[in-house]
Each structure stands twice: as structure tokens, then as C-alpha cells.
Amino acid sequence: MTRVVDVFLRYLEAEGAHVVFGVPGGLLHPFFEAIEYADNMRLVVSKHEEGAAFMADGYARVGRRLAVCAGTSGPGSTNLLTGVACAFADGVPMLVVTGQAASHSLGLGAAQETGREDIDIVDMFRPVTKYSAMVTSAETMSRHLRRALRLALTGRPGPVHLNVPVDLWAQPLDEDWFDPKTYRPQTVAFDRSAVQRAAELLLEAERPLFLAGAGVAIAEAQEHLRSLAELFPARVVTSPRGKGVLAENHPLSMGVLGFAGHADARRTALGPDVDVLLTIGSSLNETTTLNWQTALRPSKALIQLDIDADRVGRSYPVDVPLIGDAQSVLVELVYHVHRLLREGARRCSTWDQAAPPLRGPERYDSPALRVSEATPVTPQRWRSDLEAVLPDDAILYSDIGGHMLFNIHHLCVRDRQQFVLNLGFGSMGHGTCAPIGTALAQPERAVVAIVGDGCFTMNGMELLTAAEYGVPVIWVVENNQMHGITYHGSAMVGRKQPLECVRYQRPIEVASIARAMGLRAWVVDRPGQMTDVAAEALRLREPSVIEVRVDASIPPPLGDRAKSIAGFIRR
């Protein structure tokens, strides 16, 4: 006899999801028990449900598959909310399973009950998921599950939530419909004539510019972006979240536009020369467009490519909208450009004659601090030391805070390296926990998380999870003994005085805490030291922490953000 939980696990297997992140508890016990005894499922128990959601997010972002996280009823499920919101904001496919009191006792006040009558968990998840429902009977489980999976994995991906009363799992269920292809269509359609028009416009452009966002990484369209850019050639700027989707050492890359971005990218994108702008998988939000600058509009045509029609034409008038999956549409664009070339069209791009994009130290705002010999080390210097030893295919995570601004501005994401940042929702702790899921999905690649001391104190306990499961993530914790972005940012708005309350009352010792949790740990405070320490950590491939004690007086590059905030406050 097959039970509901067996059918559930078979669906997960068919989707290639072999890891479940979560914290077991009474009202979800049958689910966790089944995973414990299943042959090809693995349960990773986090220290807090928020961490589980973040890890599932990290697992899905780079694993090319669905991620699953689970929390029991009551606080176990509300703890998941922030992590799920992050996945929703960034379009990460995720199945969230939460526990519920037995169906026959709903409304009677069971312990940790979150039913419709009281604290309605299904409603709570609705704004942060593409689908949120309570499964009310065994027979409807497959239907709910297929619908949830269909929504999670088609169109713009995102999280879905199923709430299951505890008594349902063990009930018998007959099911023979498991093949994902039969319930989950491919959504790779696009408007052919729009693509043709876009190809013509791009070929005729003298100064074509691409603005690539994080959607490129979600659609795994990095190579296709590169192929298309090289055809004209077109220069490429990225959004902060899309950083590195075109290797930043590629001759056509101009770095990051927007929040903590590079002056060269800003000058070009907001300058008068660009005639055709193609945006790819970028929502054109405040941080990318520098507070919706009108100068971003090109002189001839704006082509916007996004999988979500709702994002197209939201902030700028669009001449050619391209709705669809970035990889499929870019491949189609490549085909059409080749066809036009075959038919004798000429490339009009004049980028070849222009001065090349700034590279090396010239790209950065304060190049002198990158080679500074000062002790304690500057945030710029240790990053340039770290860059030298990172492998060509490393996955780099950033958390949210002052260190993020330095990461965006002062890291060069090169070759096949990947940069992940949850700026869509901007939750601290994501960059600390999600790398664990990533390292589980891509065990052969080096995963390095560059986080701040604030993020470490918020969600650092999950490092213990990594130590327990031997997940080889390297955390580089930039310790300036305060919430740097708030401290330095507050000096630019309002009374123009830094908020003293965000400095720690007593210094924390990150490396000592990490050692106590069973991780390997080093302290770096001198220039040049990072190179050796990071090389050693990369060689060992163990969960480890590098605490960097930096010069806290150096403000992060947050000029533009401070201007927007000041503008919002005034309004």
C-alpha cells in the first residue's frame, strides 16, 4: 500500500530534488520520518527554519533544480517566511512544506495550530509565494502538488507552499501520474517578429549597450549573452545583482551600473552616446537605475527582455518588448543576427574605435586603497588579495550590509565565477546560510561567502550546520565591529551624524566563536595576509571562517544610495 507521503517523495524524486532542508517537529513528523528512511533523500537539519529556507534557496539557485524546505506548524512555519520571501523576490523555485494540526481537530486549539480559524499560515504565505494552499484530503494531494510544481518551475520561477495536516501523510493513496513533462509545460515561447525587430535594431546601432540583470543567471544565459555581445560588438554593464553574468575581465564588460557601481559604467550608460539599450533579466529597479535616472533612456530604442510581462515598461517606455526566457530569446537573437549577416547586413557598432572600457585599478573609485599597506587592512586591499587566489569557477556569495557595497564595487568576478546576492528582498543572513545549500548542490566548485559581522551575529549559528554535515563553505567575515552601512550611511542623511548605537558595545571575536563551533578559523588584519590564508582554506576544502579585522573608518561606496534615501526622506 502506498501512502500519501510515499507519493509525495516520488514527485520530489522525479523533479530531481534529493535534499530537504528543515527542522523536524511533531506536526510534520511523518514527513521527516519518511525522508529519514528513504534511500535517495537526504535531510539537512538547520539550526533555525529561516536558515533552512535560505539553504534551499542556495541549493536551487545554482543546482538547476527544485529545492525543498520544511518546517513544522506554528513558529516553525513562520520562521520560514523571511527566507521564502527572499526566494520569491529573486525568482527561485522552491517547494515549502509546513505542518498542521490533524484535520479533524482544526479549530479546537491544538498545540501550535495555524489553521484557517486562528493564525492562518496559508494566508501568511500567500504574498510571498506563487501558490499557497492547505491540502484537505489525501485524494487531492497529487493535484495540489502538481499544480504547485507547475507554478514553481514555469514562467518566472518562485516558491510555492503546501500546508499538510499531520494525519494525512499516512493515509493510503493510489497514484501513477509522475512524469514532470506531462504536467509541467516548457515556457520558452517568444514573439518572433519582436526578436527580428530587435536583431535589426541592434545591428544598426552604433553604440549598442546591454544591461544584464540577475535573470541572466536564473536562465543560465551567460554564454548566450556573451555570444550576442561579441557579435556586434556591444558593451555590457550589469545590475548589482547581475554582477559577473558577463565575466568582468571580458573586454566588453564595463562593470556594474547602479548601487556601488563603477564610474565608467555610469558615464557610458547615462551618457549621450548609447543609441540602443538592451536590458536582459533586469527589473530596472531603484538600485540598478540609480533612482530611475531618465538619462538611462537611449537615443534610438530601448529593448527590454524579461520573463515577466509585468516588469516590462514599468519604469521606462519600451520600444521593443521581448517577453520570454532569457536563454531561448538570446539564442533566437543570435540566430537572427547570423541570418541578417548572411543576407549581407553590416555591423554598425563603432565600439571598436572607442577607448576601451577601464580595466584593472582604474575601474575603481579609490584605487590607492586597493594597494594600501596600512594595518588594519583596508576593505579594498584584502579583496584584491583574495581575488588573486580564487579559482576560475568559484561561486561567491555576498550578504547584505556595508561589505556588500565593497563586494559589488571592489571584487572582479571573472571567467566562470558566479556572484550571488539577494538584493531583491535584501535580507541579512541569506549570504551566510544559502552558500551551504549551494555547496551541497555543486560539491566540485569552491563556494566562498563574503559576509559582515552583523550578518554573522544574526544567522551565524548555521555555520554549525555546515560543520556537522562537513559542507566545505569558506566564510570570509569582514569584522568592523558595527553595522557599517547604517553607521556610514547615517552620516549622509538627516542630521549628518553617524548613529553611534550601531557600534558594538564590546568587540566580538568571530574566529573564536567559529573555532568553538568546530570550524577552522583564521584572523586576517594585515595587507597581503589574505592571499596565503585563503589559499590554505581553499586547499583544505573544509567548513572554515576567515575573520578579517578591517579599518572600520573607511566608508563603503554608498554615495548614490544615500542620495536616494535622502530624497525619499525629504519627500
Binding site: 554564454e223 548566450h224 556573451r226 539564442v331 543570435v334 540566430y335 543576427v337 549577416l341 548572411r342
Partner: protein
């Protein structure tokens, strides 16, 4: 460089004030006398022209005395000390004219101690239009009149506010004359400047008086004529200031133009540098592409040689059969000719055995030569596709270098991340297909795409090259041996080898082509290697074309 503040016993001064006399010497007397004088005073000549150097005060005094003797009068020496003085200020020259005189003289008083380690300056008294500077020396015995004159010259010729005429300097006291200090009264405005205005008023008044006397409307004359003439006088005087201003503006303009020109040069140089860098890159690519071409030729030749060897061996073994058959027939004939000779019969038996061995060897040789073609040992290993796409992209771009061909190389989401196959075979097939595409495409485009279908990785190579006639497509897969099988331009021995290799690893090949429009090849590689039934090297079953290749019909467009 000596430290002016250092605990030094000797009195020293900066060579800056000596720069003007030095330049005067070089300009009027020539370089040799200048070096001669420097040598006599114990000063290195090149130190004199390097403004960061310091010399002993005594030597400086001696040097100035020699110069003074050449210039004779005090007035002439003053001019010597102001010789080309403006050049010494550098960019400061453009800043000084906006400073008020009071500020300027205060600065002079302050900077005095920067030029010598024994002197000190102070402002004794100052007003809007004049300052009194005092100069003290802790070693008055070393002060000479010439040193004092260099200071006077420097102050007199200091460019000042709006380029007004130089200040008048009155020396109230001088150390060289036995006083305790030098005292300079610097007056900025000369009272004479009021004279034209006063003169104008007087002249205006006189004219008005004249008019009055002459009886012409007195009210107009008395009230306005002195004012008008006074203004005229003032304007007359201000002309000088205006001229100085214009002059200053012109100098700044010239400096800016020079700057702009320099910047333009620098920009041009950067662009030229960029251009050179690009050309270098091009050259490199060109060389890489040449090398690749050479290597390919070599490979082709090696393959052709292999083919030739095989056919030679086959031909020779075939040809050898004839004499062997003849020998066998001769043996039989001999047996019949000498029937009753047992000794001869045993010799003939031995000879028969030898012939049989020989025939068997020939057969093996022929067989061996047949199965040898194109087959290599198959060693599957796991390979990742991601990094390999990068390598392929570089190769195809290098091959297509210098042609008017757009090249795109990418991988689809459906392509498997890794496959288990023989890397050598995989790369040989890919190289073959890609280099053929480049070879037959002069302009247009080449797309290399990695795609996937269940169990297979597909390498799709489409070009816009010459294309192949539908009825000749099959022949491109045949080895070079038959010359009549060649298409207009041979596709080389490559494709026949590709077919062999694909057959060996259990892959398939598809082709579609249209003359004048281009060719597309699909090579499907199995993700896991086929189960091995027998060692493929000695396989007796030759790989048939139809087992591996599918020819797609080109749609007529």
C-alpha cells in the same frame, strides 16, 4: 637634499634666488663662464639649476659677488637678479595676481625662513597699501649687499594683484650696511596714480572757467566738466591696469591652450596605444590561427600517410599473392615432373609448408590493413562540458580569424553537464567539423551549439559556406582513396575518420546541406559509453556509413 631645519652649523640657503643670476650668466656670457664661476665658488654647476638644492651662504655670497662684478652698477645687478624671474614661479604665476598685496607681502615674510636656515622675516607694520618687512639673520656677518639685492629684486618683480605696476621698495636699513636688520618699506600704490585724475579735474575746471568767462551756459560747465575730465584722467591711468590684465589673461589663455594640447596628445597616445594593443592581439590571433592551420595540415598529411600506408600494404600483399600462386603451381608441376624421387618430394613438402605459411601471413596482412583504418583505442573518461565550451570557442574564433565571418559558440540548457567519453575522440570529431565549417565559409556566419536529448549530447555546427549537392553528400564521407568521389573542393580525409570514430563510440552523425546556403552537421555523442562487446581494434566488422550517418533533406527555401 639638505634639511633646512636640521641641526647644521653652517649657514645655508636654497639655490632658488640664485637661479636668475645663473640663467643670466648662461644667457649672456655662455655656459663655460658660468661653470667657471661656480667652480671657483665651490658649487656644482648642475646644483644651481636644480631648485631643490641648497648651498652654503658663504659660497652663495661669493657667487653673487662675481656676478655683480660682471654687471657693475647696482641697477644693472638688480636687473640680473630679476632675469627671467617669472619662469621660476611655475603655475604659481597664475595664482599670484589674484592675491592682495598685503597677503602677498605677509607670505613673503613667512617664506623668507624657507629659503635660508639663518634668516627670519616679519611684517613690522602694514596697511591697505603698504607693508614694512623686516629681515633678521642669525649670522649677520655672512650677509652681503648682493644677497639683499636679490631679495629686493624678488619683491619688486613679484606679480601682484591684477597685474598693477610693481611696488616701490624703500630700503630703510640693511645688514650689509651695518644695521641690525634689513628693513623694506613696500608701497603698493604710488601717489602718482592720482595725478592724471587730479590733472583732469583741474583741466576740466579750467575749461569750465574759460567757458564761464566766454559767457556760455555756466551751469553745465561747472558741474560736469571737472568730473568728466577727472574720469578721463582716471581712465587714462586705469588703462595700464587693463593692459596688465589683458596681458595676464593672454598668458593664462596660452597656458590653457598648451595644457589642452598636451591633453590631446596624451589622449591620442592612449588611443594609439590601444590600437597597438589591438594590433598585437590581432597578430597573436593570426599566428595562432596560422599554427592551427599548419597543425591541421600536418594532421591531414599524417592521416593521408596512414591511408597510403594501408593501401600500399594492401596492394603489396595483393600483388605478392600472384608470385605465391605461381610458386605453388610450379611446385605441383615439379612433383609431376619428378614423381619417383623421395628426396625431392620431401624438399617439395617443406617448400609447400613454407608457401602455406606465407599465404596465411599475406592474408593476415591484408585483413590487418583493412581493420586498422581510423580506429584508435577507446578510453572513456568523464569530461565536463562547461569549461570545454570555452576552449572550443577560442579554437573556432582562432580558426575563423581574419575572415568576414560571425562566430557564435554556446551551450543550451538541455545539454548535459558532463559526459563519459574518450576526450581525444570527442575533440577530434569536434575539431574536424568546426575546421571544415571554417574552411568552406568565406563570409557569413558559423554557429556551434551544444544541445542535448535524452542520453545524448549534440554538437551542432552550422555554416553558411559553399554547401554540397544533395546527390554528392554521401561521397564526402568516403576516404580520399578514390579521386572521383571528391566534391568540387575536397572535404579531406577528415569526415571518413569522423564516421569511423563516431561508429566506434556509438554516436551518430546527421548532415543537411544546400549548395550556396551552407551545411549543418549534428554529431550525437552518447552520454555514457556503449557496452563493449569485443576489443574494437581487432573488430572484423567494418563500420558501415548507414549505421552512423543520416542525411537530412534540405527544405527548399
Amino acid at each position: 637634499m639638505a634639511d633646512p631645519q636640521g641641526p647644521t652649523e653652517t649657514a645655508r640657503m636654497s639655490v632658488r634666488p640664485l637661479w636668475c643670476p645663473s640663467m643670466w650668466l648662461i644667457d649672456t656670457q655662455g655656459r663655460e663662464p658660468f661653470e667657471q664661476i661656480c667652480g671657483d665658488c665651490g658649487i656644482e654647476p648642475h646644483h644651481m639649476l636644480d631648485s631643490s638644492q641648497w648651498v652654503e651662504l658663504e659660497k652663495a655670497g661669493a657667487f653673487l659677488e662675481r656676478v655683480r662684478s660682471l654687471a657693475d652698477t647696482e641697477q644693472a645687478f638688480h636687473e640680473v637678479c630679476a632675469h627671467r624671474i617669472r619662469e621660476g614661479y611655475g603655475p604659481l604665476l597664475h595664482v599670484l595676481p589674484v592675491a592682495t598685496p598685503r597677503l602677498l607681502f605677509r607670505a613673503v615674510a613667512r617664506t623668507v625662513s624657507l629659503f635660508s636656515n639663518v634668516s627670519r622675516g616679519s611684517v613690522l607694520h602694514e596697511s591697505r597699501t603698504h607693508s614694512v618687512l623686516r629681515y633678521h639673520s642669525s649670522m649677520p656677518e655672512l650677509e652681503t649687499r648682493e644677497l639683499c639685492l636679490t631679495r629686493v629684486a624678488a619683491m619688486t618683480d613679484l606679480p601682484n594683484l591684477f597685474g598693477l605696476p610693481p611696488a616701490l621698495i624703500k630700503e630703510n636699513a640693511c645688514i650689509a650696511r651695518g644695521d641690525e636688520y634689513c628693513e623694506y618699506e613696500c608701497r603698493f600704490y604710488t601717489r602718482n596714480r592720482w595725478l592724471p585724475m587730479v590733472g583732469g579735474v583741474v583741466v576740466g575746471g579750467a575749461i569750465a572757467y574759460g567757458l564761464d568767462v566766454a559767457g556760455i551756459d555756466p551751469s553745465l560747465g561747472w558741474s560736469s566738466l571737472p568730473v568728466v575730465f577727472g574720469l578721463l584722467g582716471a581712465i587714462w591711468e586705469l588703462r595700464k591696469t587693463a593692459a596688465a590684465n589683458v596681458d595676464h589673461g593672454q598668458r593664462i589663455q596660452a597656458a590653457l591652450e598648451e595644457l589642452a594640447e598636451n591633453e590631446g596628445d596624451a589622449r591620442r597616445e592612449i588611443l594609439a596605444f590601444h590600437q597597438r594593443q589591438k594590433e598585437w592581439g590581432k597578430l597573436m590571433e593570426e599566428q595562432v590561427s596560422d599554427r592551427t592551420e599548419q597543425l591541421r595540415d600536418l594532421l591531414d598529411r599524417l592521416e593521408a600517410m596512414g591511408e597510403a600506408r594501408v593501401s600500399t600494404v594492401r596492394g603489396v600483399s595483393h600483388d605478392l599473392r600472384n608470385p605465391v600462386t605461381i610458386l605453388g603451381m610450379h611446385q605441383a608441376l615439379l612433383r609431376r615432373m619428378v614423381p619417383d624421387r623421395p628426396d625431392v618430394a620431401s624438399v617439395l613438402d617443406d617448400s609447400d609448408d613454407a608457401l602455406a605459411t606465407m599465404e596465411k601471413m599475406l592474408e593476415e596482412l591484408t585483413e590487418g590493413a583493412r581493420s586498422d583504418r581510423g580506429l584508435v583505442p577507446f578510453n572513456p573518461t568523464e569530461m565536463e562540458i562547461g569549461p570545454w565550451v570555452e576552449i572550443l570557442r577560442r579554437r573556432v574564433k582562432a580558426l575563423a580569424f581574419g575572415k568576414d565571418v560571425g562566430v557564435s559558440v554556446f551551450r543550451r540548457r538541455e545539454a548535459p553537464e558532463r559526459i563519459e567519453t574518450d576526450r581525444l575522440i570527442f575533440e577530434r570529431v569536434a575539431d574536424n567539423l568546426c575546421s571544415n565549417a571554417v574552411k568552406y565559409t568565406e563570409r557569413g556566419s558559423i554557429i556551434v551549439e551544444l544541445d542535448g536529448k535524452p542520453g545524448f549530447l549534440t554538437l551542432k555546427v552550422s555554416d553558411t559556406g559553399v554547401g554540397i549537392e544533395q546527390d554528392r553528400i554521401e561521397r564526402i564521407f568516403e576516404p580520399n582513396g578514390k579521386p572521383d568521389a571528391r566534391v568540387a573542393r575536397s572535404l579531406g580525409v577528415g569526415l571518413s575518420v569522423v564516421v569511423q570514430l563516431m561508429g566506434q563510440i556509438g554516436g551518430r552523425l546527421e548532415v543537411m546541406s544546400k549548395p550556396g546556403r551552407g551545411t549543418t552537421f549534428w554529431a550525437h555523442f552518447p552520454v555514457t559509453p556503449p557496452a563493449r562487446e569485443e576489443p574494437p581494434v581487432r573488430s572484423s566488422r567494418p563500420i558501415k556509413l548507414a549505421d552512423v550517418v543520416t542525411i537530412r533533406r534540405a527544405q527548399s527555401a
